[in-house]
Protein backbone atom coordinates (compact mmCIF):
# COMPACT_ATOMS: atom_id res chain seq x y z
CA UNK A 1 0.00 0.00 0.00
CA UNK A 2 1.28 3.36 -0.96
CA UNK A 3 2.00 5.72 1.82
CA UNK A 4 0.10 8.44 0.02
CA UNK A 5 -3.08 6.85 1.26
CA UNK A 6 -1.74 6.30 4.71
CA UNK A 7 -3.80 9.10 6.19
CA UNK A 8 -6.88 8.66 4.07
CA UNK A 9 -7.52 9.83 0.53
CA UNK A 10 -6.08 13.09 -0.57
CA UNK A 11 -8.87 15.55 -0.96
CA UNK A 12 -9.10 17.39 -4.23
CA UNK A 13 -11.41 20.26 -3.59
CA UNK A 14 -12.31 23.11 -5.85
CA UNK A 15 -13.62 26.22 -4.24
CA UNK A 16 -16.77 26.85 -6.22
CA UNK A 17 -17.76 30.14 -4.64
CA UNK A 18 -15.86 32.47 -7.03
CA UNK A 19 -17.14 30.54 -10.03
CA UNK A 20 -20.69 30.87 -8.84
CA UNK A 21 -20.11 34.58 -8.27
CA UNK A 22 -18.84 34.96 -11.82
CA UNK A 23 -21.67 32.96 -13.29
CA UNK A 24 -24.16 35.12 -11.49
CA UNK A 25 -22.50 38.27 -12.81
CA UNK A 26 -22.54 36.86 -16.34
CA UNK A 27 -26.23 36.03 -16.10
CA UNK A 28 -27.07 39.52 -14.90
CA UNK A 29 -24.90 41.03 -17.66
CA UNK A 30 -26.51 39.09 -20.49
CA UNK A 31 -30.02 39.65 -19.19
CA UNK A 32 -29.38 43.39 -19.10
CA UNK A 33 -27.74 43.48 -22.54
CA UNK A 34 -30.53 41.53 -24.14
CA UNK A 35 -33.08 43.88 -22.59
CA UNK A 36 -31.20 46.95 -23.86
CA UNK A 37 -30.66 45.69 -27.39
CA UNK A 38 -34.27 44.53 -27.57
CA UNK A 39 -35.48 47.99 -26.68
CA UNK A 40 -33.09 49.87 -28.95
CA UNK A 41 -32.76 47.72 -32.03
CA UNK A 42 -36.23 46.53 -32.77
CA UNK A 43 -35.99 43.83 -35.44
CA UNK A 44 -37.00 45.29 -38.80
CA UNK A 45 -35.86 45.43 -42.41
CA UNK A 46 -33.82 48.58 -42.58
CA UNK A 47 -33.32 50.15 -46.03
CA UNK A 48 -30.24 48.90 -47.83
CA UNK A 49 -29.34 51.43 -50.53
CA UNK A 50 -26.93 50.61 -53.34
CA UNK A 51 -23.56 52.37 -53.14
CA UNK A 52 -24.49 53.85 -49.80
CA UNK A 53 -22.58 57.00 -48.91
CA UNK A 54 -23.05 56.46 -45.20
CA UNK A 55 -20.90 57.00 -42.15
CA UNK A 56 -20.44 54.60 -39.24
CA UNK A 57 -22.66 54.98 -36.20
CA UNK A 58 -21.29 57.94 -34.27
CA UNK A 59 -20.23 57.49 -30.66
CA UNK A 60 -21.96 60.62 -29.44
CA UNK A 61 -24.86 60.47 -27.05
CA UNK A 62 -27.95 59.53 -28.93
CA UNK A 63 -31.48 58.34 -28.48
CA UNK A 64 -32.95 55.73 -30.77
CA UNK A 65 -36.36 56.45 -32.27
CA UNK A 66 -37.88 53.31 -33.74
CA UNK A 67 -40.78 53.46 -36.14
CA UNK A 68 -42.34 50.11 -35.29
CA UNK A 69 -43.41 48.31 -38.46
CA UNK A 70 -46.88 46.86 -38.64
CA UNK A 71 -48.52 44.53 -41.15
CA UNK A 72 -48.83 45.61 -44.81
CA UNK A 73 -46.44 48.54 -44.56
CA UNK A 74 -48.40 50.17 -41.76
CA UNK A 75 -46.90 51.07 -38.41
CA UNK A 76 -47.70 50.18 -34.84
CA UNK A 77 -46.28 53.30 -33.32
CA UNK A 78 -43.10 55.10 -32.39
CA UNK A 79 -40.80 53.90 -29.67
CA UNK A 80 -38.14 55.81 -27.77
CA UNK A 81 -36.45 53.66 -25.15
CA UNK A 82 -39.29 51.95 -23.30
CA UNK A 83 -41.80 54.66 -24.15
CA UNK A 84 -44.20 53.87 -26.97
CA UNK A 85 -46.37 56.37 -28.80
CA UNK A 86 -49.45 55.74 -30.91
CA UNK A 87 -49.35 56.52 -34.66
CA UNK A 88 -51.90 59.29 -34.26
CA UNK A 89 -51.54 63.10 -34.11
CA UNK A 90 -51.87 62.83 -30.31
CA UNK A 91 -49.14 60.22 -30.21
CA UNK A 92 -46.90 62.42 -32.33
CA UNK A 93 -47.47 65.31 -29.94
CA UNK A 94 -46.62 63.13 -26.95
CA UNK A 95 -43.49 61.98 -28.79
CA UNK A 96 -42.59 65.61 -29.42
CA UNK A 97 -42.96 66.50 -25.73
CA UNK A 98 -40.93 63.48 -24.67
CA UNK A 99 -38.13 64.35 -27.11
CA UNK A 100 -38.18 67.96 -25.95
CA UNK A 101 -37.59 66.76 -22.37
CA UNK A 102 -34.64 64.72 -23.57
CA UNK A 103 -33.25 67.69 -25.54
CA UNK A 104 -33.48 69.90 -22.47
CA UNK A 105 -31.51 67.36 -20.45
CA UNK A 106 -28.85 67.04 -23.15
CA UNK A 107 -28.85 69.65 -25.92
CA UNK A 108 -26.26 67.73 -27.91
CA UNK A 109 -28.40 64.68 -28.27
CA UNK A 110 -28.54 62.98 -31.65
CA UNK A 111 -31.59 61.04 -32.75
CA UNK A 112 -31.10 57.77 -34.59
CA UNK A 113 -34.15 57.15 -36.72
CA UNK A 114 -34.86 53.52 -37.56
CA UNK A 115 -37.68 52.76 -39.96
CA UNK A 116 -38.58 49.69 -41.94
CA UNK A 117 -37.97 49.82 -45.67
CA UNK A 118 -41.63 49.13 -46.45
CA UNK A 119 -42.94 51.90 -44.21
CA UNK A 120 -44.67 54.70 -46.08
CA UNK A 121 -43.09 58.13 -45.94
CA UNK A 122 -46.30 59.54 -44.46
CA UNK A 123 -45.64 57.40 -41.36
CA UNK A 124 -42.02 58.47 -41.02
CA UNK A 125 -42.65 62.17 -41.64
CA UNK A 126 -44.46 62.72 -38.29
CA UNK A 127 -41.37 61.36 -36.53
CA UNK A 128 -39.10 63.74 -38.44
CA UNK A 129 -41.51 66.57 -37.72
CA UNK A 130 -41.65 65.69 -34.03
CA UNK A 131 -37.86 65.78 -33.77
CA UNK A 132 -37.70 69.20 -35.45
CA UNK A 133 -40.42 70.75 -33.34
CA UNK A 134 -39.09 69.13 -30.16
CA UNK A 135 -35.80 70.88 -30.82
CA UNK A 136 -37.66 74.16 -31.25
CA UNK A 137 -39.66 73.52 -28.06
CA UNK A 138 -36.52 72.84 -26.09
CA UNK A 139 -34.88 75.91 -27.68
CA UNK A 140 -31.69 73.92 -27.83
CA UNK A 141 -28.86 76.13 -29.06
CA UNK A 142 -27.13 73.10 -30.47
CA UNK A 143 -28.05 71.64 -33.78
CA UNK A 144 -30.50 68.84 -33.88
CA UNK A 145 -29.00 66.03 -35.78
CA UNK A 146 -30.92 63.09 -37.08
CA UNK A 147 -29.17 59.93 -38.15
CA UNK A 148 -31.06 57.82 -40.64
CA UNK A 149 -30.09 54.24 -39.88
CA UNK A 150 -29.64 51.91 -42.85
CA UNK A 151 -27.95 48.58 -43.40
CA UNK A 152 -24.65 48.60 -45.16
CA UNK A 153 -23.18 45.18 -45.51
CA UNK A 154 -19.55 45.80 -46.30
CA UNK A 155 -18.93 42.20 -47.23
CA UNK A 156 -21.47 42.41 -50.03
CA UNK A 157 -21.38 46.04 -51.08
CA UNK A 158 -18.52 47.67 -52.93
CA UNK A 159 -15.99 49.42 -50.79
CA UNK A 160 -16.16 53.21 -50.73
Amino acid sequence: MSSVYARGRARIEANLTPMIDMTFLLIVFFVLVSRISEVESVPMDLPEPQEAATVPLPDESRVVLNVLPGPDGGIEGYRVGVMQFAPTPEGAEALERHLATLFRQNPELDVNLRADRATAYSDVAPALGAIASAARLAESPEATRVNLVVIKDERRGPRP
Binding site: S3, V4, M22, A118, A120, S122, K152
Partner: protein, 160 residues
Protein backbone atom coordinates in the same frame (compact mmCIF):
# COMPACT_ATOMS: atom_id res chain seq x y z
CA UNK B 1 13.27 5.25 4.82
CA UNK B 2 13.34 6.81 1.45
CA UNK B 3 12.92 10.53 0.84
CA UNK B 4 9.62 10.09 -0.96
CA UNK B 5 8.03 8.38 1.94
CA UNK B 6 8.99 10.95 4.48
CA UNK B 7 7.58 13.71 2.29
CA UNK B 8 4.23 12.01 2.14
CA UNK B 9 4.15 11.47 5.83
CA UNK B 10 4.87 15.04 6.65
CA UNK B 11 1.32 16.14 6.08
CA UNK B 12 -1.69 15.67 3.91
CA UNK B 13 -0.88 16.48 0.29
CA UNK B 14 -3.01 19.38 -0.64
CA UNK B 15 -4.25 19.11 -4.22
CA UNK B 16 -6.75 21.93 -4.13
CA UNK B 17 -7.14 23.78 -7.42
CA UNK B 18 -6.65 27.49 -7.26
CA UNK B 19 -9.38 28.95 -9.45
CA UNK B 20 -8.65 32.60 -8.84
CA UNK B 21 -6.28 33.13 -11.83
CA UNK B 22 -8.75 31.43 -14.14
CA UNK B 23 -11.52 33.68 -12.96
CA UNK B 24 -9.30 36.71 -13.42
CA UNK B 25 -8.62 35.69 -17.00
CA UNK B 26 -12.28 34.99 -17.69
CA UNK B 27 -13.14 38.41 -16.40
CA UNK B 28 -10.54 40.04 -18.65
CA UNK B 29 -11.92 38.15 -21.65
CA UNK B 30 -15.44 39.19 -20.74
CA UNK B 31 -14.46 42.86 -20.67
CA UNK B 32 -12.54 42.50 -23.93
CA UNK B 33 -15.46 40.98 -25.80
CA UNK B 34 -17.92 43.41 -24.26
CA UNK B 35 -15.87 46.37 -25.46
CA UNK B 36 -15.13 44.98 -28.91
CA UNK B 37 -18.64 43.78 -29.73
CA UNK B 38 -20.79 45.88 -31.97
CA UNK B 39 -24.39 45.12 -31.15
CA UNK B 40 -25.79 46.97 -34.17
CA UNK B 41 -23.95 44.95 -36.77
CA UNK B 42 -23.88 46.38 -40.28
CA UNK B 43 -25.83 49.49 -39.38
CA UNK B 44 -24.62 52.80 -40.68
CA UNK B 45 -26.21 56.21 -40.76
CA UNK B 46 -26.80 59.29 -42.86
CA UNK B 47 -26.41 62.46 -40.91
CA UNK B 48 -29.18 64.95 -41.48
CA UNK B 49 -29.19 68.42 -40.01
CA UNK B 50 -32.71 69.48 -39.39
CA UNK B 51 -33.56 72.93 -40.75
CA UNK B 52 -33.99 74.30 -37.23
CA UNK B 53 -30.21 74.30 -36.93
CA UNK B 54 -29.65 76.94 -39.62
CA UNK B 55 -32.35 79.32 -38.40
CA UNK B 56 -30.21 81.26 -36.00
CA UNK B 57 -26.95 81.23 -37.91
CA UNK B 58 -28.30 82.36 -41.26
CA UNK B 59 -26.23 85.02 -42.96
CA UNK B 60 -28.60 87.94 -43.63
CA UNK B 61 -26.65 88.96 -46.74
CA UNK B 62 -26.55 85.55 -48.32
CA UNK B 63 -28.90 85.05 -51.18
CA UNK B 64 -31.46 82.43 -50.46
CA UNK B 65 -30.72 79.66 -52.91
CA UNK B 66 -33.73 78.17 -54.51
CA UNK B 67 -33.55 74.54 -53.38
CA UNK B 68 -33.47 71.79 -55.91
CA UNK B 69 -36.53 69.71 -55.21
CA UNK B 70 -36.51 66.00 -55.89
CA UNK B 71 -40.08 64.78 -55.93
CA UNK B 72 -40.89 61.12 -55.60
CA UNK B 73 -44.30 60.01 -56.75
CA UNK B 74 -45.59 56.45 -56.80
CA UNK B 75 -45.43 54.94 -60.26
CA UNK B 76 -47.94 52.40 -61.43
CA UNK B 77 -47.61 48.71 -60.89
CA UNK B 78 -47.63 46.59 -57.79
CA UNK B 79 -47.56 48.93 -54.79
CA UNK B 80 -45.63 46.42 -52.71
CA UNK B 81 -42.73 46.68 -55.16
CA UNK B 82 -42.56 50.36 -54.32
CA UNK B 83 -41.82 51.67 -57.80
CA UNK B 84 -41.49 55.43 -57.86
CA UNK B 85 -41.06 58.08 -60.52
CA UNK B 86 -38.47 60.77 -59.89
CA UNK B 87 -39.38 64.32 -60.83
CA UNK B 88 -36.95 67.17 -60.68
CA UNK B 89 -38.53 70.56 -60.31
CA UNK B 90 -37.15 72.87 -62.97
CA UNK B 91 -35.85 72.63 -66.52
CA UNK B 92 -33.83 69.52 -65.90
CA UNK B 93 -33.76 66.18 -67.65
CA UNK B 94 -35.98 63.81 -65.70
CA UNK B 95 -33.97 60.89 -64.32
CA UNK B 96 -35.47 57.45 -64.72
CA UNK B 97 -33.56 55.68 -61.97
CA UNK B 98 -31.74 56.64 -58.82
CA UNK B 99 -28.47 55.96 -60.64
CA UNK B 100 -29.52 58.55 -63.26
CA UNK B 101 -30.36 60.95 -60.46
CA UNK B 102 -26.90 60.42 -58.99
CA UNK B 103 -25.28 60.98 -62.41
CA UNK B 104 -27.29 64.17 -62.91
CA UNK B 105 -26.42 65.57 -59.49
CA UNK B 106 -22.79 64.56 -59.81
CA UNK B 107 -22.42 66.22 -63.21
CA UNK B 108 -23.89 69.51 -61.92
CA UNK B 109 -21.76 69.70 -58.77
CA UNK B 110 -19.43 72.67 -58.56
CA UNK B 111 -16.09 71.52 -57.23
CA UNK B 112 -12.41 71.52 -58.07
CA UNK B 113 -12.87 68.94 -60.76
CA UNK B 114 -15.82 70.73 -62.33
CA UNK B 115 -15.32 74.50 -62.07
CA UNK B 116 -18.26 75.05 -64.39
CA UNK B 117 -20.67 73.10 -62.20
CA UNK B 118 -24.05 74.53 -61.43
CA UNK B 119 -24.67 73.76 -57.76
CA UNK B 120 -22.28 74.32 -54.88
CA UNK B 121 -21.84 71.40 -52.50
CA UNK B 122 -24.01 73.17 -49.91
CA UNK B 123 -26.77 74.00 -52.37
CA UNK B 124 -30.01 73.05 -50.63
CA UNK B 125 -31.56 69.88 -51.94
CA UNK B 126 -35.00 68.89 -50.75
CA UNK B 127 -36.30 65.37 -51.05
CA UNK B 128 -40.06 65.56 -51.28
CA UNK B 129 -41.70 62.14 -51.32
CA UNK B 130 -45.40 61.61 -51.82
CA UNK B 131 -47.05 60.22 -48.67
CA UNK B 132 -47.33 56.67 -49.96
CA UNK B 133 -43.70 56.36 -51.09
CA UNK B 134 -41.84 53.64 -49.27
CA UNK B 135 -39.11 54.65 -46.86
CA UNK B 136 -36.36 52.78 -48.73
CA UNK B 137 -37.08 54.77 -51.93
CA UNK B 138 -36.84 57.95 -49.89
CA UNK B 139 -33.51 56.79 -48.54
CA UNK B 140 -32.38 55.91 -52.11
CA UNK B 141 -33.05 59.47 -53.27
CA UNK B 142 -31.30 60.82 -50.20
CA UNK B 143 -28.36 58.54 -50.87
CA UNK B 144 -28.07 59.73 -54.48
CA UNK B 145 -27.66 63.32 -53.32
CA UNK B 146 -25.26 62.51 -50.48
CA UNK B 147 -23.22 60.22 -52.70
CA UNK B 148 -22.94 62.94 -55.35
CA UNK B 149 -21.25 65.13 -52.74
CA UNK B 150 -23.98 67.45 -51.51
CA UNK B 151 -24.00 68.34 -47.85
CA UNK B 152 -27.28 70.19 -47.42
CA UNK B 153 -29.89 67.56 -48.13
CA UNK B 154 -33.16 67.65 -46.24
CA UNK B 155 -36.75 66.49 -46.38
CA UNK B 156 -39.76 68.48 -47.38
CA UNK B 157 -41.42 70.02 -44.34
CA UNK B 158 -44.60 71.32 -45.87
CA UNK B 159 -46.68 68.19 -45.46
CA UNK B 160 -45.91 67.46 -41.84
Amino acid sequence: MSGGRSKARRGRPSLSLNLTPMIDVVFQLLIYFLVSTNFARGEQVYRVDLPSRSDGAADPFALDDEPLRIELVPAGGDPSRGMVAIRLEGPWPQPATFEDLYQFLRSRLLDARQPDGLFAADHPIVVSPAPSVRWDRTVDAFNAAVRAGYTNVSFDESDR
